[in-house]
Symmetry: D2
Subunit: 348 residues, 4 copies
């Protein structure tokens, strides 16, 4: 009954099994092994496009490496004001880029638009201003919502017209692909995305992400950046094996679909109650719901775990479903909330 995040879940058994399978014999270090070699081909196939793929262990590393590659030290990175890269990475993009500047933008349901970027766009070539370099969005967003292909295409087009790159923080990329029912290409290079942080950790891996560039030429320096940031694993096979298993047999989409289904069930269960208000539409595996303070406290006391969204006194809960969330957990949460809200109606 732990809805704090999808990273409180463990790992998919298939992925643990892949680690064991990868353990036989010796293997060349630092990515010169066979599993890693297969991985690049696998990603090429997955995205129906040339790619450069750099496995790393955390989403912050993936984002920071990608953004630093796209941004000079005097560059501006535009993103939503709730973006993980802006808020939750303790300045990783600034660190990796050598002092880049993040400009945060408002936007409904966690999404930004070309207009929002345009309103803050710095003047290209004017030496006093940090220079437009990249737009980064989260897919799914920090609000659990989705950018559709046309949303992305508009951003990609705007970015390129202004000499910027478009990056996607795909910590929950699997949830997005599963929810949209599209090809991975449809919400990446086909829509103008230049680089993707492809996340697996939140959706069943132990610790595995991949930086994916759709123009390998633009990623030529990324290997140096990864190494000097301490993100090149010596026993790389154990990182690559996670990603390989994640993609094999559709595990990643199976896991994501399950998580999305659990969130949808949770959201629709809660919204039947008049006193529960969804802050954002439930489009993937996250539910943002406003509940009375009294109900939040009682749920907490009953052992449900979740984060208040917006600080210790906020009455909006973020509830995240993972590949491991069970239907009965969801139903118990709904039932508990329903009961508490019903009491409330008597009291109020």
């Amino acid at each position: 009954m732990d809805f704090r995040s999808d990273n409180v879940a463990g790992a998919s058994p298939e992925i643990l099994a892949a680690l064991a399978a990868a353990n036989g014999g010796t293997a060349a270090a630092y990515g010169a092994d066979e599993i890693t070699a297969r991985l690049e081909a696998r990603f090429r196939e997955l995205f129906e496009h040339e790619v450069a793929v750099f496995p790393v262990a955390t989403g912050t590393a993936a984002n920071a490496l990608a953004l630093a590659t796209l941004t000079p030290p005097w560059g501006v990175i535009y993103c939503h004001e709730e973006a993980h890269a802006a808020i939750d990475e303790c300045g990783a993009p600034e660190f990796f880029s050598g002092g880049g500047k993040i400009v945060t933008l408002p936007g409904a349901d966690g999404k930004i638009t070309p207009d929002a970027v345009a309103a803050r766009l710095t003047e290209r070539g004017f030496v006093h201003h940090a220079q437009p370099a990249a737009i980064t969005i989260s897919q799914t967003t920090e609000a659990g919502t989705l950018y559709r292909p046309p949303d992305l295409a508009a951003l990609g087009d705007f970015a390129h017209r202004h000499g910027m790159a478009l990056h996607v923080d795909g910590a929950r990329f699997g949830n997005a692909v599963a929810a949209l029912g599209c090809a991975p290409a449809d919400i990446t290079w086909r829509a103008g995305v230049d680089a993707l942080s492809f996340g697996a950790t939140k959706n069943g891996a132990l610790a595995a992400e991949a930086v994916v560039f759709f123009d390998p030429d633009k990623a030529r320096e990324l290997g140096y950046r990864r190494k000097r940031a301490g993100h090149l694993f010596s026993k790389m096979r154990f990182l690559s094996a996670q990603l390989e298993a994640y993609l094999a047999d559709g595990l990643w989409l199976r896991n994501a679909r399950h998580a999305n289904r659990m969130a949808a069930r949770l959201g629709s269960g809660l919204v039947r109650q008049k006193a529960a208000r969804l802050r954002h539409p439930v489009e993937a595996n996250e539910v943002f719901v406003e509940l009375p303070e009294r109900v939040i406290r009682a749920l907490d006391a009953q052992g449900f775990r979740f984060y208040r969204w917006g600080g210790a006194e906020a009455t909006c809960l973020r509830l995240v479903a993972s590949f491991a969330t069970r239907e009965d957990e969801v139903d118990r949460f709904i039932a508990a909330a329903e009961a508490l809200l019903a009491q409330g109606n008597l009291i109020d």
Copy 2:
């Protein structure tokens, strides 16, 4: 028959088992889980001292985080001219420290002395010079040799008298403890070591190291540095579980002793041949041996794998034994070298 490095080995079964065991249920993310909580106590006990412990996944990350914590951006880090931190980390210490300067020093068998540092010591307080900040040594060294407690105490004392800290790159720390038969404390804080990169990856983990500070006060900012470098794992339990298993039941010393024994066997087997010359004494799990070019080529052709040390044309081999190296592999290498050298004697 792969002697390229101890990182070509896989993982100890005990450590893989620990991952599986850690996989049950949900766990608080980012190190707030129970396994990580136990780990700090375990390290305290291991070192018989207060410690601050920060698990990370790579040795480069451990070194760079430790050194950046000990060094201002205008600091000088002194180390041996073959130090991993100086040569093999693509500038990670410079990156993490915000532009620190590494000054490399000569020294027999991979070791530096206070005199070597003194010869290059910059003037404290002179604003034109980068300022003395830290000495970092590798234990075991890049030459497979060992610093004894008095060697360390001399360096620690020198460092502290000059306002510097002493850091140990312990990528092969287990091999050192096993070889010296001492307490971990004897070659760390008791000898003046301020911070240790405690390595497990090369000795049986998949990817697990720990930055250990013996004065937790000095490590107060390290958490921020780790996070913004992308080295804070969300599913931290899988990192901590590796370290816990590594230390449980003496696995780390068992693995290290085996590797050391294999290297000793290899070294003493080779040195029986007149034409094979050891470049450094074999004190832990590495053998540096000079062989005729013709023998090296033949060994390569027979499928033995190793690195030439000093470039593609060097005739010194580095042979590394790991926890997984088998006695028969060692013996086959010795026999092959012996046979080739004997032929050589006929030919020459």
Copy 3:
């Protein structure tokens, strides 16, 4: 008739004369000369407080050095959304601090309040968030307005209660002191200011500013930062001589009062016209006035020089008076605007 900025003016004759006077004989380099020695005492007297003083040549250098000293690489600097440090320094604070983060805040007439900072304050000790480190304000503000002592005390108090420092970008500090008629201490340390970028360039020097810290202990590393940023002058006497002459005989306040008077004359002259609207009150040496597009074009055609504020299509002008602005220039501008506006009334 050039109102573009106070930095289009040349230098005060007194300051040029001081350069010539400083030119006799040899002098120890890098600040060990006698003029520089006198300067620290002069600043101590000026501020009635212990100070550490670091002369540099540009305001961007002064700001970035001060902020980097107050902010760890993972720190947040809060400022107004129009702050020079945020907008016009091409990321200097981010560069000097090693990747610090600037969070910009709204605020009427170029000023921020504790409440505005509080609304964006990151959580201290939460490792995912960049940490609150400093508040920086401009005095006079980018809107040509003033923080009064109580405004500053409120910010200083808020900053210190939250473990932050308060920095003042005093590129136009002389204009502020002259306008407020207060002691320099009243709007610095007495109001909780920790560090000041004391500007002279805009008010009569060729290129001279000083970073002033009111707690010299906190500035101990600043000398290294200045040197490695290339801002330690070898012939420092020529930098110090400018500052000495600037402070001697009240030149700085004389210059500032004149500039302020010219701006006041300009503002009150313009505001007599119904069609001219002041965007901000004129409190120091800058006038922000909204005029019809047709009038702006005509003024430009008549040879008046100024910047549109807010981009090439804005109809708000920033008019800056300097120590060298003449009354007749001001009057001609007013007369020209008046005439054009009168025509407009006929036309409209």
Copy 4:
């Protein structure tokens, strides 16, 4: 009688006069003024080549900006072990480049050769190693000697064959041109030099240097770097005016020739004494002479000023002549040394 450095001298009267002349009227800020516009043409003519020119105020700034432009954060800069950039800039190149690595090389009389670089060249494309990026030399060297055009051509050729750039720290570039009697082009682009720190401060300016790139395309980002480092002057005319006067009417070469002549006189005067040994040939404006400790102390007591070279106990003096050094000062030093050495002969 002050031979500490050429930066203890003041400024040439012609340059001070140029400041006064530049002071009339208003001028566009940040380098959009007329004097700066003329300067680029003047440098083009001087070097008989397209150039991009960036005036700055210090040699450290010029070096660090040039090197950061030529070097990625993971780059290696090769230089002599006494290079100013390596030793006397408190890590400026590391700071500006975002963590570049300086590798210092031995070399007689302050000079390095392609062979010295080759001995330490890191492996291109090997991700573990910082990558070869630039060679920087000082002309004149830190030993007061000269690289001849063929020396430079060899370094330039080596650099380019290995994908590196060649940079010249020309803090004493005028002394080199005067001594070699060559065209500036002969020891810059014609010999393969990519970028030059063109120094004027030590040879008569107050504080003025210029970063010169011979391929303007390679300097496209330098304007951003200069701005964010705080080295873009608002009243740029006062920086450009110094450089213009420095180059006008051959002032720079007149000053340099005088300084060189004074050093030659000093060197040949001293070397007539058996007990005085020149450490390096006197080729420009510096003399390195070994004298008995007793003589050094007596010279110091007589009021001569100089630096011991190699620390407080070294018995090698560095004596630097400037444009302002007078013949009688030189002769008095020689006479004093001669007398003291003669006494010594009696005593010894």
